[in-house]
Subunit: 219 residues, 2 copies
């Protein structure tokens, strides 16, 4: 894979996040996300079109080519792996990791990212619950959310426990709450944000604190 400038990488990454199945990304849309002027977007689109990273026809918006998507995914991979590293190893809080990862993601060394991934144990989700693409750009579908964010009566699967302290794990064990289990939220009590959940056809109540550390995926 060739080398790209920080600017090009940011454009590709942002287009990836903006584009949907059927709709092209518009110049103004991208300009706003990147905090740049529309004229700058047009300039860059011409360049990226030349490099065959986007499909672009004047006045018609643009989208990534398969090659462009591949590059975007590798940047997103770097970003999310660094976020994971910052949170997990350096103990950054979840809301501080993004800014620093924005810089780290542009360090281009395949070997660095592969070794970082290995060192971290090939995590599948970053600290915001977003899936981390693998070397081939493949990743889990859907976003990981905390149990607290799960809408009422939506069935989901437990896939990750954050902030793994001994006490928390012990508590989960006692309540027989395990990774992989099917779970749904039946009631939310606004007084203390505790939840009534349904697990293995059994109802129980869990605290806000606990719910925030249980991550689930739809489906």
């Amino acid at each position: 894979m060739l080398n790209f400038s920080t600017s090009e990488e940011n454009y590709l990454k942002t287009i990836f996040h903006l584009q949907t199945k059927d709709e092209n990304v518009s110049t103004n849309e991208l300009a706003e996300k990147l905090k740049a002027k529309p004229a700058s977007i047009t300039d860059m689109m011409k360049k990226l079109k030349n490099r065959k990273l986007v499909n672009y026809q004047p006045y018609q918006g643009f989208r990534l080519t398969p090659e462009g998507k591949k590059v975007a995914l590798s940047i997103i991979r770097r970003h999310r792996l660094w976020e994971y590293f910052l949170a997990e190893k350096l103990k950054f809080s979840w809301d501080e990791v993004h800014e620093v990862a924005e810089q780290l993601e542009h360090v281009s060394s395949k070997k660095l990212i592969d070794k970082l991934d290995e060192y971290l144990g090939s995590p599948k989700f970053d600290p915001h619950g977003d899936p981390i693409p693998d070397t081939n750009g493949k990743m889990e579908t859907g976003k990981q959310i905390s149990l607290q964010e799960l809408p009422l009566n939506k069935t989901a699967r437990i896939c990750f426990i954050a902030n793994q302290s001994g006490l928390l794990l012990e508590h989960l064990n006692e309540k027989k709450i395990n990774i992989g289990a099917s779970i749904a939220v039946k009631r939310k009590f606004s007084y203390d944000d505790s939840l009534e959940i349904k697990l293995d056809n059994k109802l129980m109540t869990i605290s806000d604190q606990l719910a925030k550390n249980i991550f689930v995926k739809h489906g």
Copy 2:
């Protein structure tokens, strides 16, 4: 501390490495180190002089101001901490770390570096044996000498391995001779210049060839 461009940071860092107590750095000297043309150096010196980071008089060479030195040391700190991280945690070999650290050193987040330092246990030497400056730019100053030059019974710390070949590293590994270890020379055999050394309270004999490649610092 203000923010500097990658280019400015590379200039400051390189001037720091080139300047000596009494001699200014010359335009050509810096041009060669940075693989740039002399004209580019002059351009940048004007800019850095404006920012009061170097003392520069046309045709007279230049050197860092105290402020410039402070910035240079913080870049060197970042570089060496990342080198340590790459070698120690990601298991890069000593000769691969520099190139990647050249990129990582320009990620500017005070918090990142402080947390990285803490995570690594505030190491004092990087994988090449060079001292790592602390937050205030202070670092170990002792002069590096080869083990062959170390006086009898003086305790010293291993800080640098020269001429690192795979064989040498393997050999050191086998003898459990590591950077940072405390070491002293007990006897010198003039027949073949081999040494009897004390390492971790154990006596062993090493060849002249090996001793010449091990660098230590007093203290």
